[in-house]
Amino acid sequence: MEAVLSIKNLTKHFGRIKAVNNVSLEVKAGQVFGMLGPNGSGKTTTLGMLMGVVNPTAGEFTWFGEQPTHEVRKKIGAVLEHPIFYPYLSGQKNLELNAMIKQCPVTNIPKVLELVELSERKDDKYKTYSLGMKQRLAIASALLNDPTVLILDEPTNGLDPMGIAEIRELIKKIAANGKTIILASHLLDEVQKVCTHFAVLKRGNLVHIGPVDDVGKGEETVEVSADVENLNELLLAFAGTSSIDRENGSYYVVMREGFHSKDLNKFLFDKGVVASHLLTKKKTLEKQFIEILASS
């Protein structure tokens, strides 16, 4: 696959603080790439350098294999940190201005406004918009030039659950069109739900990079309960059991390699026990993230 973005040893120091330290990574076409990290881990600074607003201390990067210039940036749609628009201009006029800067036709505007469901409010001044509407206008502006790459930095920051769900649906819709998306966030289930790959930053250092699908691999935990007295002993007798934990009346069985919930179910059934509750739990990104941060 073609590399959309390739970063080599990118570094940014603010005085003595190493905001970004020697980060190298590649984002390939079609990936939805999550950038994770606690607040202040260097996500926004990294994206700022990629978009030409922060001058790197050292290192380099290429977009589409080209040296980064302002012309290349026109092919990328980006929202960093929070939406930025002229408050006294209407949504429509703000987008017209963006179209002039990106040198794309103003006829794209109705399409993107439709996509983010802002058509009805387009002639109202930006300062009258709710936070969710501002975020959506920012996404509309990022999509204006029909970019092949979209950069979103905390797109659901400060939104209510409804707003978060709306933006998440929007991202999925955009990703389904084959666009490459770079998504910085500290909301882990958000990343797990929409991303294909993810990287973890900690105090400016890249500490992990890999596909999201790998997170669920490895040992499996099965949550099980049944109306029998000796369930604990039965589970201990099962060959696939690695360890058992009891919580809220259910047993959490950590399985050995190669054993799955259906093996446990069959084993119990053979013993004449019918499980009233059986649930396979994959490792969450959240758990993995905390492990990565703790071990680095």
Binding site: G48, M51, G52, V53, V54, N55, T69, H70, E71, R73, K74, A78, L80, I84, F85, Y86, P87, Y88, L89, S90, K93, E96, L97, N98, M100, I101, K102, Q103, S141
Partner: protein, 269 residues
């Protein structure tokens, strides 16, 4: 990007901004009314100070006669450049307070292009002022001049390019201050105090190195076009533009815009 497109980008930001129309409107209104009402002003002086009218027949002061009208109007109009400069300061500092400079760059404007769009607006506002004063001068000159002779009408028109330079240099200064300070209030205060501070410094310098004085930025801008009115009190005035002064103001214009460019290029925005 071509220059016209850059200018249109900056105008798009400004033309829907109410403050722009209020300040711009006041500027051009004051410019127009002020420039056209010099005779009324003289009459008012004549009424207020009794001996002024008896000693001097105000109708014999050729305030609006060709070619006097050009220099008189241009010098007075030059006083109002502060208003235009405040407008420029607001325009540039807004880009910092709203953080739209950052977004403009993210969207694909280069930093140089951003600066260029602002400089082009400075050029446009300076040019409009020049045209406006030219039209007012032409109309009032035709009304008040006893006779219209072509060679008198075109005398002293070299003050127009000088007036343009004066405005453009001062607006470049305002733009640079805005880029360096980034906050509207503070920038405007510095802009207003700067000439005063400079004149305190020049007063000191005057004792040691008087030759240096014409090179100070505010001094060179404000004295590019000499004060014309002492000529009506039978004094000798400098009724031409010195090439040396022009060179100094051009140099300052280049320096101001270059500092803006360096600051914009190096800053994390």
């Amino acid at each position: 990007m071509n220059m016209l497109h850059l200018l249109r980008i900056d105008l798009k930001k400004m033309t829907s901004y109410r403050t722009f129309w209020v300040i711009g409107g006041l500027y051009f209104l004051t410019l127009g009314l002020g420039a056209a009402s010099g005779m009324e002003f003289l009459k008012w002086i004549a009424r207020t100070f009794e001996d002024f009218g008896t000693k001097l027949n105000i109708n014999r002061i050729p305030l609006y006669h060709f070619p006097d009208v050009w220099m008189n109007l241009i010098w007075c109009a030059g006083l109002l450049k502060i208003v235009l400069a405040v407008l420029i300061v607001i325009s540039i500092t807004n880009e910092y307070t709203y953080r739209t400079l950052r977004q403009n760059v993210i969207d694909g404007l280069s930093r140089a292009e951003f600066l260029f769009s602002k400089i082009l607006t400075n050029i446009m506002l300076s040019a409009i002022s020049v045209v406006m004063i030219f039209v007012i001068g032409l109309v009032t000159g035709m009304i008040y001049s006893p006779s219209l002779e072509w060679d008198k009408m075109i005398t002293d028109t070299e003050f127009f390019p000088a007036y343009f330079l004066e405005l453009f240099c001062f607006l470049s200064f305002a733009l640079m201050l805005g880029i360096l300070v980034q906050r509207a209030g503070l920038t405007i205060i510095i802009l207003l105090l700067f000439p005063a501070i400079e004149s305190i410094i020049t007063a000191k310098v005057d004792n040691y190195l008087p030759a240096l004085i014409p090179y100070f930025p505010m001094r060179s801008i404000w004295y590019l076009i000499p004060w014309p009115f002492p000529r009506y009190a039978f004094q000798e005035i400098q009724d031409y533009i010195k090439w040396g002064s022009v060179a100094i103001v051009v140099a300052w214009t280049v320096i101001f815009n270059y500092i803006s460019y360096l600051k914009l290029k190096r800053a994390d925005i």
